[in-house]
């Protein structure tokens, strides 16, 4: 079976490690691309066909919403979820407004499973 590709963007190593562990435990048919900020993410996503992107909001440089918009320009229809500790309603509305999902930190297996419902193919 062909592997799917997820992009994980978070400036926290812990946050990336947690996501990595959940994928390793439960979603072995996925490959992960990890990036520590928006610029890094755009560079690593270049030329890749992504199935899912999990993106932190509050990062040095570009924020998660701006990054999501750039990724959607490159790959319309990509399933993107903002994964953030900033759980305010306005943040959720901002994510909704650009058509991406919203996941409250801390992330867990169930939240990742739910995020995968919107993944094409």
């Amino acid at each position: 079976m062909e592997k799917k590709m997820a992009l994980i963007v978070d400036d926290s190593s812990l946050a990336r490690m947690m996501v990595r562990k959940f994928f390793a435990d439960g979603f072995k048919d996925w490959d992960l691309l990890e990036a520590k900020d928006g610029e890094d993410a755009l560079a690593k996503a270049q030329g890749q066909s992504l199935h899912l992107a999990l993106i932190d909001f509050n990062m040095p440089g570009m924020n998660g919403i701006d990054l999501a918009e750039k990724l959607l320009e490159k790959q319309p229809g990509l399933a993107i979820h903002l994964v953030t500790a900033n759980i305010q309603e306005r943040m959720q509305l901002r994510a909704e407004a650009i058509g991406i999902g919203f996941i409250k930190k801390p992330i867990n297996q169930e939240k990742i499973t739910a995020a995968m419902q919107g993944v094409a193919g």
Binding site: D11, S12, S13, L14, A15, M17, M18, R20, K21, N58, M59, P60, T84, A85, N86, I87, Q88, E89, R90, M91, K105, P106
Partner: protein
């Protein structure tokens, strides 16, 4: 013993990163509570974390803030003992009260309501902040009643004041010089595009006893070893 411990205490880069992420989640929850109270979005900065002696913590606050500060202090004790401070520059605190009460109130009345209102706000914010720790770590602690403080950064961080509240929990024979603090500074401000006068900013500082720092380090080691 303490000299040895002091030299040995150091968070690895990964532990520091993990702690910042926990604080980040804590302030995220706290900001959500504040946002509901002021009916406005609360903008958060990236957390800055430093482990420094109390004296240096005082300087850090003085460098970035004016002398007149208002704070709500929440001591907590148990497996994790320390002090959380929610600090506003003096003039900002009245603005917060005004924002919370949603109406124009004469200054003298506002000043009367300041203490009571800020204690309520501080209690909600700091509890949300600290409770996020219990979600991630297997530590238990209890909150004491929140206190309202007004004064300079030196006064707010005054070690003797904190020690008075936590005397029993601190390590026996520890000197003031041995005591170090986790200083977490995360700025936050409310945005109000329609009325820029009604914005306020503040920050959260956490002080832990040396003993608490070792407990935190142990917890971090356990969490990271499972990843």
């Amino acid at each position: 013993m303490h000299g040895e411990r002091k030299k040995m205490f150091r968070l690895s880069e990964l532990e520091e990163d993990a702690l910042k992420e926990f604080f980040n989640m804590g302030l995220g929850m706290a900001a959500d509570s504040l946002s509901q109270m002021v009916q406005n979005e609360v903008l958060l900065t990236l957390p800055k974390l430093k482990v420094v002696p109390y004296e240096e913590a005082t300087h850090m606050l003085m460098d970035s803030q004016e002398e007149k500060l208002v704070a709500v202090r929440q001591n907590f004790k148990g497996e994790l003992t320390g002090t959380a401070l929610l600090i506003f520059p003096g003039n900002e605190s009245l603005e917060l009260v005004r924002t919370l009460l949603h109406e124009d109130i004469p200054l003298e009345v506002l000043t009367e309501l300041e203490q009571e209102t800020l204690l309520d706000v501080g209690n909600v914010i700091l509890n949300a902040f600290l409770e996020s720790f219990t979600q991630m770590m297997s530590v238990e602690f209890e909150f004491e009643s929140a206190e309202f403080l007004k004064g300079s950064s030196r006064f707010l961080l005054d070690i003797s004041s904190h020690l008075a509240a936590q005397k029993q929990s601190l390590m026996e024979g520890a000197n003031e010089d041995d005591e170090r603090a986790f200083v977490l500074m995360m700025d936050f401000k409310t945005s109000d595009e329609e009325d820029t006068q009604h914005t306020l900013s503040g920050f959260v500082v956490l002080l832990f006893s040396q003993q608490a720092m070792y407990i935190l380090k142990r917890e971090l080691e356990v969490i990271l070893s499972n990843l």
